[in-house]
C-alpha cells in the first residue's frame, strides 16, 4: 500500500515538474533552491532501490544527484530544464535496449497482462507486432527528447513549460490512443483457436458429456467423456497423494489411461518419467529411489491405473497443472544407450500452440488416430495432448497394421503416423484412395522416403506432412515432400548455421535460451527454408579428405539398383570406405549374376563420376538385408564388422591362382571368432570353418558358385591348431560345380584334412 501511494505521489510530482519549475522561476526563486525538487525525486528512486534492490533505480538516483550538483555549481535554470530531456533519454534506453535483447518491452508488458499469451497460437505474431510498437516508442522518445532539448534553449520559460508540461503529455496520450486503435484492427486478423494448453484446463473446460476419446471404431460408441476424465484423474490423484513416492514412471498402452495418469501425476506436482520400454531390466535401470510405476500393463511392483480409478467416487474437482511441471522422456540416442531428456510442460504447450495454429482448424471436424508410440515426444504431442487440447476426439488404441486402415474408410481422420508405418503401408498393396474423406496425414520420427510418401498419397489421397525435430528440440520444421523437399521452420524457431555446417535452433520449445545444436548438416535457402544434408557424425576423413558418408550413400542410391546401403569408414593398411549394399529387384536383375568383381566395378565406375578416387569405397559387401533395430535405425557397428571380421579371423599370407586351381596360404589367429564355443579349453579349427573357408576362397578366387549343394566326401586327419600356417589347396570344376580341397602343412605337405563339396551350378 505504501509503495503504491509512493508511486502515485511520484508520478504526480514528476508530471507537474515543468509547471512547478515554471512557477518557481516566475517567482524568481533561485535555481539552486528549485533543485530541491530534483533531490526529492532522487529520494523517491533511492527508496525504490532500498525496497526492490533494483540496480537501475540506483543509476537514476545517481544521475539525478549529478544533475542537482550541476545546478548548485552553475546556479543556472538551463540545467534545471534538462530534466525532461533526461527522462526521454532514460525511457529511450529502457525501450531501445530490449530491441536488441528480446523480448521487446511492450511484449513483456503484454505477457504480464495476458497470462495465456505465451502459449497462444498467435504468440509469435503478437511478438512481432510488439517489437514494432516498441520501435515506434523509441522513435517518439528521440523526437520528444529533441524538441524538449530545443525548448531548453528557446529562451522562454513559458514555451519550455508549455511543451514539457502539456504538449508532450498530449502527444504521449495520442500515441497510446493510435496504437490501441491499430491493435484492435490487427487482433481481428489473428486466427481464433480453441486450443487450451493443459496448464489452463479447468473443471468446466468442456461440458461433462463432451466426448474425449473412443475405443476401436467411432460407431461402436464406446466413448470416454470429459466427465469420465475429470472423475478418473481425481481418483488417481487421490491414490498418488496417498503414496510416498516423489516421482512416477508411466507406461500406459491405452492413450486415455495414459492421459489420465499423465494429468494426475502432474496435478500432484510430482516428477513424471515416460517410457515406451517396459523391459524389467530397463525399468530397474531408470527407476530411482522413491519412484513408483503407473501402468495398464503387467509390470512387477507397479500400480495399475484401471485398478486405481475403478472405485472412483467422492469429490470430483479438477486441480490445475503447473506449466513448469517436470517431465522426462527417454531416447535411444545415437549410441543406443537410453538417455533421459528433461522437459518442462510449457515446452510441449508452446509447441502444441504452434501446431494448432498451423493445423488446428483443419483438425476440428476430424478424429485423431495414432500409429506411433505416445511415450515419445511426437506421439505424446500429436496423438494425446493436441487432440485433448483442441477438444477433438482421439482413438485410445494405436493402429499397428496398415491394412486395418480399411476399417476407417468412412471416417475423417487425422492420421498420426511415422516412416515405419508408411513404408509398410506402401508395401500393403491396399487399393487407391481407400478413404472417402482424405485424412490429414502426419509423419515424423525419421526421414520418409519420397517413394513411400507417393505411395501414401496413392492409398490415402493425402500427401503426408513431415515433421523434423528431436526429443531435445521438439519440432523444428515441416515439409510436404510433394510440394518441396526443403523444410520450412516453425515460425517461432530461429535457425542458425554453426561453423561446421550444423543446424542450431533457438526455440520457445527449448528450456535453454542458448539454443540447441543438432547433429544435422543443413543448407539454407534464401527464403529461410533448408535442406537436410546428413548427420555431422557421417562426416569422416579418409586420408585427409573430408567426405560425408550420407553423400556417398545417396550417390549409391542414385544408381536406382539398391534397396538399402550403408557406407562405413574403415582402417586397415590405410583409411578407406566400405559399402554394404542390398540390391533391389532391378539391381538383382542387372548385377545378380555378375561376379563380385563386376558388381564392384559397376559401382566404382558409376561413383568415379562424382567422387574422388580416395573416397571411392574400396570394399563392398552384398547381403539380403542390413543389420538394424526395430525403429529402422541401421547399426553401423555391426556393418563395420562385415568388413573387419574377415581380416581378423583369417590372415591370408599368399594366394596363387592358376586356371581352376588355387593355393591359399593362411593362418587362423588365436583371437579369431572361429574358435568361440568350440572346445574352450583347447582351441581347434572347427571342421565347419574349414569347409566354409574352402567354399569362400573358391568363390573368391575360382569364381565358384556360392550356392551349396552337398558334401560328398570329407576327412579330417589332423587337428589344426591356432596360429598354425596352413595351405588350402583347391580346384574347381565349373561344369560339375565340384570343389576338391586339401588343407596341408605348407612345408611338409602333410595333410590336415581333405574333401569334395558340390555347389549348385548356375545356368
Amino acid at each position: 500500500m505504501k509503495s503504491v501511494l509512493g508511486k502515485v505521489v511520484f508520478t504526480i510530482f514528476s508530471v507537474c515538474y515543468p509547471v512547478l519549475i515554471f512557477a518557481g522561476l516566475y517567482f524568481k526563486i533561485q535555481p539552486r533552491v528549485l533543485s530541491l525538487l530534483l533531490v526529492i525525486m532522487a529520494a523517491f528512486h533511492f527508496s525504490a532501490f532500498l525496497r526492490g534492490k533494483n540496480r537501475k533505480t540506483l543509476f537514476l538516483f545517481a544521475g539525478l544527484l549529478g544533475l542537482v550538483a550541476l545546478v548548485w555549481v552553475t546556479n543556472s535554470e538551463t540545467t534545471l530544464k534538462i530534466y525532461p530531456v533526461l527522462v526521454n533519454l532514460v525511457l529511450l534506453g529502457v525501450f531501445g535496449s530490449t530491441l536488441f535483447r528480446p523480448p521487446s518491452l511492450v511484449f513483456r508488458f503484454a505477457l504480464l497482462q495476458d497470462k495465456t499469451l505465451a502459449t497462444s497460437p498467435s504468440v509469435s505474431a503478437v511478438e512481432k507486432y510488439c517489437f514494432k510498437v516498441t520501435l515506434v516508442w523509441c522513435l517518439f522518445f528521440v523526437f520528444n527528447g529533441s524538441v524538449s532539448w530545443a525548448t531548453v534553449f528557446a529562451g522562454s520559460e513559458w514555451i519550455w513549460s508549455l511543451y514539457n508540461g502539456l504538449i508532450s503529455y498530449i502527444l504521449i496520450g495520442l500515441l497510446f490512443l493510435i496504437e490501441y486503435a491499430v491493435r484492435v484492427q490487427v487482433r481481428k486478423k489473428y486466427p481464433k483457436s480453441n486450443y487450451t494448453p493443459l496448464s489452463a484446463w479447468h473443471r468446466r473446460l468442456y461440458p461433462d458429456e463432451k466426448i474425449l476419446c473412443f475405443e476401436n471404431q467411432w460407431e461402436e460408441k464406446r466413448y470416454r467423456t470429459w466427465g469420465d476424465f475429470v472423475r478418473d484423474t481425481a481418483a488417481l490423484r487421490a491414490k498418488i497423494n496417498s503414496l510416498p513416492y516423489s516421482g512416477w514412471i508411466l507406461h500406459a498402452e491405452n492413450v486415455y489411461r495414459f492421459l489420465v495418469a499423465f494429468t494426475a501425476v502432474l496435478q500432484t506436482g510430482k516428477k513424471l518419467y515416460l517410457t515406451a520400454n517396459r523391459a524389467p531390466d530397463f525399468l530397474r535401470e531408470i527407476r530411482e529411489a522413491e519412484t513408483g510405476i503407473l501402468t495398464d500393463q503387467e509390470i512387477a511392483d507397479s500400480f495399475s491405473i484401471p485398478e486405481c480409478v475403478k472405485n472412483s467416487s467422492g469429490t470430483v474437482d479438477f486441480v490445475s497443472v503447473s506449466k513448469d511441471s517436470d517431465l522426462f522422456l527417454y531416447t535411444s540416442g545415437t549410441t543406443g544407450a537410453p538417455k533421459a531428456v528433461h522437459k518442462k510442460l510449457f515446452q510441449f504447450e508452446a509447441e502444441g500452440a504452434e501446431l494448432s495454429f498451423l493445423w488446428g482448424e483443419a483438425c476440428l471436424s476430424r478424429r485423431f488416430v495414432g500409429t506411433v508410440n505416445h511415450h515419445h515426444i511426437y506421439g505424446l504431442l500429436f496423438s494425446a495432448l493436441l487432440p485433448a487440447s483442441l477438444g477433438v476426439p482421439f482413438r485410445s488404441e494405436r493402429i499397428e497394421i496398415p491394412e486395418s486402415l480399411k476399417h476407417f474408410s468412412r471416417e475423417p481422420l487425422v492420421l498420426v503416423s511415422s516412416p515405419a508405418f508408411l513404408k509398410r503401408l506402401a508395401e500393403s498393396k491396399l487399393e487407391n484412395h481407400i478413404f472417402e474423406i482424405p485424412p490429414l496425414l502426419f509423419s515424423s520420427g525419421g526421414v520418409l522416403p519420397v517413394e513411400a510418401a507417393q505411395e501414401a498419397k496413392r492409398i490415402t489421397g493425402t500427401s503426408p506432412a513431415e515433421i523434423y525435430g528431436s526429443t531435445e528440440t521438439g519440432g523444428i520444421a515441416y515439409r510436404v515432400a510433394e510440394k518441396s523437399l526443403a523444410w520450412t521452420p516453425f515460425r517461432v524457431n530461429r535457425m542458425e548455421l554453426t561453423e561446421n555446417g550444423c543446424l542450431k535452433v533457438y526455440s520457445p520449445y527449448l528450456n535453454d535460451p542458448a539454443g540447441f545444436t543438432t547433429g544435422d548438416l543443413v543448407e539454407f535457402n534464401e527464403d529461410g527454408s533448408f535442406i537436410l544434408k546428413g548427420r555431422i557424425d557421417s562426416i569422416v576423413k579418409i586420408e585427409e579428405k573430408r567426405i560425408s558418408l550420407t553423400e556417398v550413400e545417396s550417390r549409391i542410391r542414385a544408381t536406382g539398383l539398391v534397396q538399402d546401403v550403408c557406407v562405413v569408414a574403415l582402417t586397415g593398411f590405410r583409411e578407406y570406405l566400405g559399402a554394404a549394399v542390398v540390391l533391389n529387384r532391378a539391381g538383382c536383375e542387372q548385377l545378380g549374376k555378375c561376379s563380385l568383381k563386376a558388381r564392384n566395378d559397376f559401382f566404382k565406375n558409376y561413383l568415379s563420376g562424382y567422387l574422388e578416387r580416395t573416397v571411392l569405397p574400396k570394399k563392398w559387401r552384398y547381403s539380403e538385408s542390413l543389420p538394424g533395430d526395430t525403429q529402422g535405425k541401421i547399426k553401423r557397428k555391426e556393418i563395420e564388422q562385415l568388413f573387419v571380421k574377415e581380416s581378423q579371423n583369417v590372415i591370408v599370407r599368399d594366394v596363387r591362382v592358376c586356371e581352376d586351381k588355387m593355393e591359399v596360404l593362411l593362418t587362423v589367429p588365436k583371437s579369431s571368432d572361429y574358435y568361440d564355443g568350440h572346445f574352450n579349453e583347447f582351441h581347434l579349427l572347427p571342421a565347419v570353418v574349414q569347409i566354409d573357408l574352402a567354399i569362400r576362397f573358391s568363390h573368391e578366387y575360382l569364381q565358384s558358385s556360392l550356392r551349396f549343394s552337398k558334401i560328398s566326401r570329407v576327412k579330417f586327419v589332423k587337428p589344426v591348431l591356432p596360429d598354425t600356417p596352413i595351405c588350402l589347396e583347391a580346384s574347381y570344376s565349373r561344369e560339375k560345380g565340384k570343389i576338391t580341397f586339401n588343407y596341408l602343412c605348407p612345408e611338409s605337405r602333410a595333410l590336415f584334412s581333405s574333401g569334395v563339396i558340390f555347389m549348385e551350378v548356375l545356368e
Binding site: 586420408e543 586397415g572 593398411f573 590405410r574 561376379s595 563380385l596 568383381k597 564392384n600 566404382k604 568415379s608 574422388e612 578416387r613 580416395t614 571411392l616 574400396k618 570394399k619 563392398w620 581380416s647 591370408v652 599368399d654 594366394v655 596363387r656 591362382v657 573368391e700 578366387y701
Partner: protein, 86 residues
C-alpha cells in the same frame, strides 16, 4: 604369363588388399592408377613400399619420373629388372 609380372600382381593385390581381384584381372599394360584399377595416390605410396620390400629395389622420392614406373605392371617390371643386381 611372365613370372615377374605375375609376382608383381600378387604383391599388388596383397599389399593393397584388393578384394575380388585375381592376377588375371590385371592387364599388363593397363594403367594402374585412375581408370584402370582405380588406385589413388595413397595406394601408390603403399605399393612403393611393398615393391621395395618384395623385390629389393628402391624408389627415390616420388616425382614424375617415379610415377612413370608405376604406370602399369609392365612399367614396374621393367624398372625392377633394370634395378635388380644380378
Amino acid at each position: 604369363m611372365d613370372d615377374l609380372n605375375l609376382r608383381i600382381k600378387e604383391v599388388l593385390i596383397r599389399a593393397l588388399d584388393l578384394e575380388e581381384i585375381i592376377p588375371e584381372d590385371i592387364v599388363d599394360d593397363a594403367p594402374l592408377f585412375g581408370d584402370g584399377l582405380g588406385l589413388d595416390s595413397i595406394d601408390a605410396l603403399e605399393l612403393g613400399i611393398a615393391i621395395k620390400e618384395n623385390f629389393n629395389v628402391s624408389f627415390a622420392t616420388v616425382n614424375d619420373e617415379t610415377r612413370k614406373h608405376f604406370a602399369s605392371v609392365n612399367a614396374l617390371a621393367a624398372y625392377i629388372r633394370a634395378n635388380t643386381k644380378e
